[in-house]
């Protein structure tokens, strides 16, 4: 069977199309999904292309089911994924908490829309907290926040590898803007870039007869004793902390001598970067720090930059979700932290320039 993408090629497409291509290129074998805007076209492109490459799709009755069927696909040993947004992401937290507890490497693409509740179908960064820490758990998950279509492609492929390598549920946190706008990027066959895809393995039906020539797989998420649960969670915590340095990713722009440090993630970092460019032309010492992984968070790296700056400004299309993350990781840093919050609204370069000037 031919590969979905041979080598590498330049394309101009929407983010949702990018995700479908990336999942195909990554060798995702099955997608489980339920309609919700602005995520729909991931399914639309997937259902058009998947059968040509022997891949499968199941449209479920809701996002709870999309998430749980996805865990089933992963347990069968397949690279399986799902995608959602907003209230769908809320429902998705139940299966994702099971994935967290049972170390099931699901991949979930989140296309953030306005919240809370139904809100808008357009855009926000209001699913940051939920994607990082949703469910009744500790947030042992990996969250990549993407800013460009290129990143959307790169990190969707990477999400499958990170998930299967470390066996924590992995999320690509996009948004409605990225879903719907068109942008140019390179799409590629991972092999063409020497990216080796981590092998997916079944958790059940692994060959042999259970009880005869192997032990049965008895997978559970329920524990009887406090001590039992404590051990399991502490194992997860130790493992998560051990691997965090290998997973953490961030981007710095003009940070070396920055007096004012703009912290933004996802698509908003484009406005922050644009503002830095503009202000640097006027000789202003402004820099931008973009965490790519929100879980685990690039704490040491941000702390170092924040300490060297005179002012930190957190900029986000939410009312303090990135801000909470930043503050918790900058504990002990005396640099003042200011905020620019536009919940559910896009943020332009001009706005960021204007806001930053207040601190120059």
């Amino acid at each position: 069977m031919t590969k979905p993408i041979e080598g590498e090629k330049k394309v101009f497409m929407t983010g949702n199309e990018v995700v479908a291509w990336a999942a195909l290129a990554a060798g995702a074998e099955i997608m489980y999904g339920y309609p919700i805007t602005p995520q729909n076209e991931i399914m639309h492109y997937w259902t058009r292309m998947a059968p040509k490459y022997g891949r499968k799709f199941l449209q479920t009755e809701d996002e709870i089911s999309a998430g749980f069927t996805c865990t089933g696909g992963v347990l069968a040993g397949k690279r399986a994924f799902t995608a959602t947004a907003g209230p769908g992401n809320t429902l998705m937290q139940e299966p994702m908490s099971m994935a967290e507890m049972m170390r099931i490497p699901t991949v979930l693409i989140v296309c953030q829309r306005g919240g809370p509740s139904t809100a808008t179908v357009i855009y926000s960064q209001q699913e940051t907290t939920m994607t990082c820490y949703g469910g009744n758990g500790e947030g042992f998950r990996i969250v990549y926040s993407t800013a460009t279509h290129q990143e959307l492609f790169d990190y969707t492929i990477k999400a499958f590898n990170t998930a299967w390598k470390y066996r924590f549920p992995t999320f690509v946190l996009g948004d409605g803007y990225q879903s719907k706008m068109r942008e140019s990027l390179s799409i590629y066959d991972p092999e063409a870039r020497n990216i080796e895809m981590v092998r997916a393995e079944p958790y059940v039906v692994k060959g042999g007869v259970p009880g005869e020539n192997r032990d049965p797989a008895h997978l559970r998420n329920t524990y009887n004793m406090e001590e039992e649960l404590y051990e399991v969670i502490m194992d997860h915590a130790r493992e998560y902390e051990k691997i965090a340095p290998e997973i953490i990713e961030y981007e710095e722009y003009e940070c070396d001598d920055a007096d004012v440090l703009l912290v933004a993630h996802g698509v908003v970092s484009r406005a922050a970067k644009g503002a830095v460019k503009e202000l640097r032309q006027d000789g202003k010492k402004v820099g931008h720090f973009k965490p790519v992984t929100l879980r685990p968070f690039p704490e040491k790296e941000l702390l170092e930059r924040a300490k060297a700056a005179k002012q930190v400004i957190v900029i986000e299309s939410a009312y303090g979700q990135l801000d909470k993350l930043v503050k918790s990781h900058l504990y002990g840093c005396s640099t003042p932290i200011a905020q620019y919050f536009r919940p559910g609204e896009g943020i332009t370069i001009e706005e960021v320039v204007q806001e930053t000037k207040k601190y120059l």
Partner: protein
């Protein structure tokens, strides 16, 4: 020398005695299931999913790969698994709360989509694990922790007819039956036909088993059997409801 009780080969002896209450119906259902797994020789490709509620106590019951899931979510986990690996014989095991209340959308839609999985549901007319609350299957007038004066059908509706509902919405090739622990031989036959239905890729399979809960019913042995064989049988008709291309029994 101690004499070992007779157990299906697919039962995991290391985890016996099991964790269910004395007099519970689950072990009878699981014995029938275990014997069918033995007879069909499918332990190597069966995945047993168990729900939350008393059914979760079966998480290490079998020498069969097992996934214990969330309350009501066993059906989608098994469906997702079977979709990804068609060689798997997927069994979703749950109680009446898991299947008819919190997970009803999954049961309804899996049946409607004719998923090739087998859902086995124990109906003991209440929530056992949480201490005996009213369930969709609680009989009219039956006292539970949340219907302490007896179930008022004016306020809470009549007992849910699960297999009848599944039969109404599933395709031609679905297998649907209601058995009872009062007739394990017949229940086993239903379970076998259900598994064969999914093994042969024919269609969805659903068996409700009328079960026992003397702990929460607060009944002695005699009244326990009277409840399942007389009281429950008044509302829940035992027998095959839908058999692809065959004559029904019972």
């Amino acid at each position: 020398m101690s004499v070992q009780p007779q157990m299906p080969k697919s039962w995991r002896s290391e985890t016996k005695p099991h964790k269910f209450c004395p007099g519970c119906g689950h072990p009878l259902i699981l014995k029938a299931l275990g014997e069918v797994i033995d007879e069909l020789n499918i332990a190597d490709r069966t995945v047993f999913g168990c729900d939350i509620g008393c059914s979760l106590l079966a998480w290490d019951f079998f020498n069969v790969d097992t996934i214990q899931t969330h309350h009501g979510r066993t059906t989608p986990v098994i469906v997702g698994l079977r979709r990804a690996n068609e060689n798997v014989i997927g069994i979703a095991y749950m109680g009446d709360g898991g299947g008819y209340a919190i997970g009803s959308q999954h049961l309804v839609n899996s049946a409607a989509r004719d998923e090739k999985v087998f859902v086995l549901l124990a109906n003991n007319t209440q929530y056992g694990m949480t201490g005996g609350q009213m369930a969709p299957t609680t009989l009219p007038g039956q006292k539970t922790e949340t219907s302490p004066y007896g179930r008022d059908t004016e306020l809470t509706g009549p007992p849910v007819q699960g297999p009848e509902m599944v039969a109404a919405i599933s395709g031609e090739n679905a297998y649907v039956a209601r058995g009872t622990v009062g007739n394990v031989r017949q229940l086993k036959k239903f379970i076998k036909k259900a598994i064969q239905n999914v093994m042969e890729g024919r269609g969805f399979a659903f068996v409700e088993a009328l079960s026992l809960c003397p702990t929460n019913w607060r009944t002695n042995a005699e009244d326990t059997w009277k409840f399942v064989e007389k009281d429950m049988a008044t509302y829940f008709k035992v027998g095959e409801i839908k058999v692809p291309g065959e004559k029904k029994e019972g």
